[in-house]
Symmetry: C2
């Protein structure tokens, strides 16, 4: 943090007034990260203080890292990404091993979809943030237009109109695929499942970031694969040096990774690192399975690229879904396999669940073609970014002082590291009794690591209930 400018004592209360107002606006979400704050002149008028005082207060806020000046444009609320907190570092296990009973805690899984709990657990976007009514309109429309189509088996790869819409959206993520290359699945879960089955055999080594989504750990266990942890940090994602070392040491078959806003630590790999990672995987003959489910939830100026956009040799898989942007309950996802593996994936799909239901594919295809998906996404990103600010502020005010907290540039998840002695499984259970769901850190490791960490969902409809629940978690944490 830069040094604060020196203030004259007599001006302090005026500065405080300006500073306090701006900070309140940031905290209560009136001013979103990235948005312009009132001009010096306007603020001077509003608070009846001199222009020079406002100027100095703004300089102070800038020095504190809350706002930033842009030439010729004025002052803006600084994006969370630039907050200076130490990055979270993972505790990767050094060697590959079979996964046994990985986070096989059904209580945790059930709690994530239990509607009666305050939803700080599951990585779930609250329905009030989603286009419920316009999706419903699409559903009613397609069912009236072609009820018979909804009754029939969809083609195994999916309904063409939806595949086309998805292929159109891949441009933004830095790559181009034909609609026929997109295979529709029952959510991102089935996409990851099919991709992994298609490029590995039982006993193969699969590298994943540590920590990672508990569903990925269970998937690796179910398919009889060996897990190899990859060290990662919350600011940069996979540590490429450590990856290079492990790739040289072990025969890694596939890397199942989330370069954009890793669940749970929210890390984002730079474009440079993405390209290097793809090249390293080519070199070591490692197939990449990319989980891009959070890719659209960015607070960065543009959509982050995918590893797929650097995959010039078409060797890798991309998996995603609409669960974080349109509806989790619809269960519509997709996998884009390499051209050479498409038939194999289709055959696995035919055995896994057969084709995906037709009605909801038709609905989403109509929605993407005819509704304002882009506008919805912009609003959704703003709301989640605002939630991040609100939740972070509430946590910083009410949690033990020695915590570390991530400041992701996208996604919907916040990761908190408590003092080493804190037991978040205990915290999870105590919170459950207070009807609050959170996910304890051990769920994101196959060996009970991260026992002092906690994942908080920011995809909420902010309310005093959520705020109270966070305060409650903070209080409980002091006893765990």
């Amino acid at each position: 943090m830069a040094r604060s400018p020196i203030l004259r004592k007599s001006d302090v209360s005026l500065y405080n007034q300006v500073e306090g107002l701006i900070k309140n606006w940031i905290t209560d979400g009136t001013l979103l990260a990235g948005s312009r704050i009132p001009s010096v002149r306007a603020m001077s008028k509003k608070l009846s203080v001199s222009i020079s005082t406002v100027n100095q207060a703004y300089a102070l806020l800038e020095a504190q890292g809350h706002i930033e000046a842009k030439p010729q444009s004025g002052y803006f609320v600084k994006r969370l990404t630039t907050v200076n907190t130490p990055a979270f570092k993972s505790k990767a296990m050094p060697t590959p091993r079979f996964v046994k009973d990985s986070s096989r805690n059904l209580d945790i899984i059930h709690s994530c979809s239990n509607e009666k709990l305050v939803p700080l657990g599951g990585a779930v976007i609250h329905t009030s943030l989603l286009p419920t009514m316009s999706l419903q309109k699409s559903l009613l429309k397609v069912m009236r237009q072609d009820p018979v189509k909804a009754m029939r088996y969809a083609p195994l790869g999916g309904i063409y109109e939806l595949r086309k819409e998805i292929s159109k959206r891949t441009f933004d993520a830095g790559y181009v695929v034909d609609p026929e290359q997109v295979i529709i699945t029952n959510g991102c879960t089935e996409a990851l499942n099919l991709a992994l089955k298609s490029c590995t055999s039982p006993g193969d080594i699969v590298a994943v970031e540590s920590p990672t989504f508990h569903g990925i750990l269970r998937l690796i266990e179910d398919q009889g694969l060996k897990l190899l942890d990859l060290p990662a940090t919350s600011d940069k994602g996979i540590d490429l040096d450590a990856f290079t070392e492990k790739a040289s040491k072990f025969k890694i078959k596939a890397a199942l990774v989330t370069p954009n806003f890793l669940n749970p630590i929210g890390s984002l790999m730079s474009d440079e690192n993405k390209e290097k990672f793809v090249q390293l995987c080519y070199k070591h003959n490692i197939t990449i399975i990319e989980d891009d489910i959070y890719g659209e939830l960015y607070f960065t100026p543009t959509r982050p690229l995918t590893l797929k956009s650097f995959d010039k040799q078409d060797k890798n898989y991309l998996c995603s879904s609409f669960s974080k942007t349109l509806s989790a309950g619809y269960r519509i996802g997709w996998v884009i396999p390499p051209e050479s593996e498409k038939e194999k994936v289709l055959l696995f799909k035919s055995t896994n669940t057969s084709s995906t239901n037709a009605a909801l594919q038709m609905t989403i295809a109509d929605h993407l073609a005819n509704h304002s998906y882009e506008r919805h996404l912009r609003k959704l990103r703003q709301t989640i970014e605002k939630n991040f600010a609100l939740i972070t502020a509430t946590i910083q005010k009410n949690f033990p002082e020695d915590i570390k907290i991530t400041h992701p540039r996208g996604g919907c998840l916040i990761w908190i590291e408590f003092a080493p002695s804190t037991n978040t499984l205990d915290l999870f259970e105590k919170a459950l009794k207070k009807n609050i769901s959170v996910v304890p850190g051990c769920a994101f490791s196959s060996t009970g690591k991260y026992m002092n960490c906690l994942r908080i969902n920011a995809g909420v409809a902010w309310s005093s209930e959520i705020e109270k629940a966070l305060i409650e978690i903070g209080n409980l944490a002091k006893t765990c």
Copy 2:
């Protein structure tokens, strides 16, 4: 076939007239199997022939196996089940083995859902036979009533209302389970997949009828299991003596079987044999996975029981879906595991696809609770039974004379055995060129057996197009 009564020469043309009329009515579906034919007096009046002539013609038709007399009730069209054709016998391989490239012919799979083809391939019920409009009504209703519920993740095991409706229907199939014991899946495919994963490990031996559904063969291959063929006949299903021998000889882990109307040969096991089979499996420590997807499509007086109804020790799995009775495109099925395995199955479900979409679960739950599902099923069974008669008659008239054809008492599939030299893969390809889909027998074996057999779907909307397609297949068969 019983000997025909001796006729006086002078009466022959009159007999022919009566006989021809009744046979036409049976063939064109005016008279369904089981329905009463006009009384002797009415027929005598209609055709202006003597009562004695009609009497003799009816006796002749009875002797030929077309109609049957019931005391005090008159004459009835004989049920197909009693047609005296030799049962189809399977060619089971003697030993277990891993499955490689089992029926991995994507052309066959794609052709089954290709709407542009005459649909004699896939085991698909034509939408005109299904309650398209009332399902649509249910969908519109539930989406209006609770659009938010449809947006959310459903509970992992499924939406309670649907599980309750399914549990109510199990009474008819001879067993009782709590709603919580029913796990909703993406079609019967996912149900079989989860059940098999839950009770076997790679390398285990799984016994299945030969021939069996090609999806089951692929499932066994995908999970790295060994396949053991069980001999079966089209009239009785699994040969229990042969099964006993194999169960003594090999360590069978699971039996994945279809006692009610096996796809493709339509066999139905008797209750006695079902009970014996369950006991034999107990004795040899074999877990049964029962595929009951055709169980509701019976032409027998009552719903056939399930193996599950004899499973007093609660060791076995039952899998089914609404794909053959409400909608294939909805992809809603279920698995009922033993109580002891429920958590395991739920965990596999969470990894395989996560929960099943909410909207279509809500729709079917509403439909079952508020619409005339029973009335629909009665009508559907009648239509399919009529289709069986029409298709069988058309085949017998137009196919090579040396074929054998099954006469199932339920399901929607007809199995034809041609002369040993006939190549039905060739026939499949030639039919495809004429825009007709059929499934060649080799698809139902992992070793290219049944190359001279063909499966025909009877779940069609009967029309001259279907009739012409059948005649075309008959003609093509003569060249294959």
